[in-house]
């Protein structure tokens, strides 16, 4: 069974890996870190799957203006996929 908590540092790395090619690695990193900060998630603490979903939801509009809504959804799915299926 997959863990239901996620390491924020890994989320940043995943966003950087998937989105960096489109918006540049610096923007991908800064953008995801800001999203974590807005949700008051510290880098040293674990985050829940719900918080991960909130971060991904926050990233979607910014990505949609670059690659369109359909591809943005696919890329967000790709990041989500890196954390395995949601625990029941």
């Amino acid at each position: 069974m997959e863990s239901s908590s996620v390491d924020p540092a890994v989320v940043i790395k995943a966003a950087q890996a998937v989105l960096g090619a489109y918006v540049g690695e610096k923007v991908a990193r800064t953008w995801t870190s800001e999203m974590l900060r807005n949700l008051q998630i510290g880098l040293m603490e674990e985050m829940s799957r719900e918080q991960l979903e909130a971060v991904l939801k926050g990233l979607t509009p910014g990505l949609a203006v670059i690659v369109g809504p359909a591809k943005a959804a696919a890329l967000i799915d790709e990041i989500r996929g890196r954390f395995g299926p949601k625990a029941a």
Partner: protein, 265 residues
């Protein structure tokens, strides 16, 4: 047609047109374009503009007609489309009536209307990016960029604005002045976009804007060269400005194609 082939076609068409005009200049000097060279050049401009407009409108549709970014792409595509219609009209004068289009003419309506659409499109891109949280620059930066570019632009176009004899009707002078002034507005919009787009350096998004902004700057350069050539009152198709226009249209179409790549590839 695969996008890779379309890419090659854009570069190929622009290269052939520029080589034809450049070769003609080397052979006969800068005495204006005519005959087969002019026909090849005009066909290239049609193809590049039509492709640029079509790709931009496809981007608009893929981004979502009701979205800010979709609206910006639509305005941009319509602006390029108006240039296409104006170029069709110019060719009618050149190849059917065997003369250069007079100034002013009905074609100026299309050219003049194209500029606000392009400016609104570029500003629309900036606003759409800003609305989703990308830092596109402070108000202070906007004022500095606007003032600096307006000053530089006006200094460059001043001889064109003040040219012409006293018998020229006021509305004709105003129309002649409108082109360089709209070029300055275009430069300001490019400056605002450049300030925000730089952050995407290293990503594919930067490539889109690099092509679009380069296309706009080359187009403005072409307008300036054309305006200065017109001051000499020679009724010929100026080859240098025409080469710049072809390069500009190719870059704009290439930028729109890169955006479509990001959406669909």
């Amino acid at each position: 047609m695969k996008r890779h082939h379309l890419d090659l076609l854009l570069y190929g068409v622009a290269a052939i047109a520029i080589a034809a005009v450049g070769g003609s200049m080397l052979a006969a000097g800068a005495n204006g374009l005519s005959g087969v060279t002019l026909a090849v050049h005009v066909a290239a401009k049609w193809l590049l503009l039509a492709t640029g407009a079509w790709l931009s409108l496809r981007n608009a549709s893929a981004m979502g007609a009701g979205t800010a970014i979709g609206r910006a792409w639509r305005l941009f595509g319509l602006g390029i489309g108006l240039f296409f219609i104006a170029e069709l009209g110019e060719a009618f004068y050149q190849f059917v009536l065997h003369t250069l289009n007079p100034f002013p003419s009905v074609l100026d309506v299309f050219y003049i209307l194209a500029y606000p659409l392009l400016v609104l499109g570029l500003v629309g891109f900036v606003r759409a990016y800003s609305a989703v949280g990308y830092p596109m620059g402070s108000t202070r930066d906007t004022v500095i960029i606007t003032v600096a570019l307006v000053a530089v632009g006006l200094a460059g176009v001043w001889p064109v604005l003040t040219a012409g004899d006293g018998d020229t009707p006021l509305w004709e002078k105003a129309l002649a002045a409108a082109y360089p002034l709209l070029d300055v507005a275009l430069l300001v919009a490019v400056g605002l976009l450049l300030r925000g787009a730089r952050q995407f350096g290293g990503g594919h998004a930067w490539e889109v804007w690099a092509f679009i902004m380069a296309g706009m700057v080359v187009m403005v350069a072409g307008d300036f060269v054309y305006a200065y050539a017109s001051l000499n009152a020679e009724d010929v198709v100026d080859p240098i400005s025409e080469m710049l226009f072809v390069a500009s249209y190719a870059l704009l179409a290439r930028g729109a194609l890169r955006q479509l790549d990001l959406i669909e590839a």
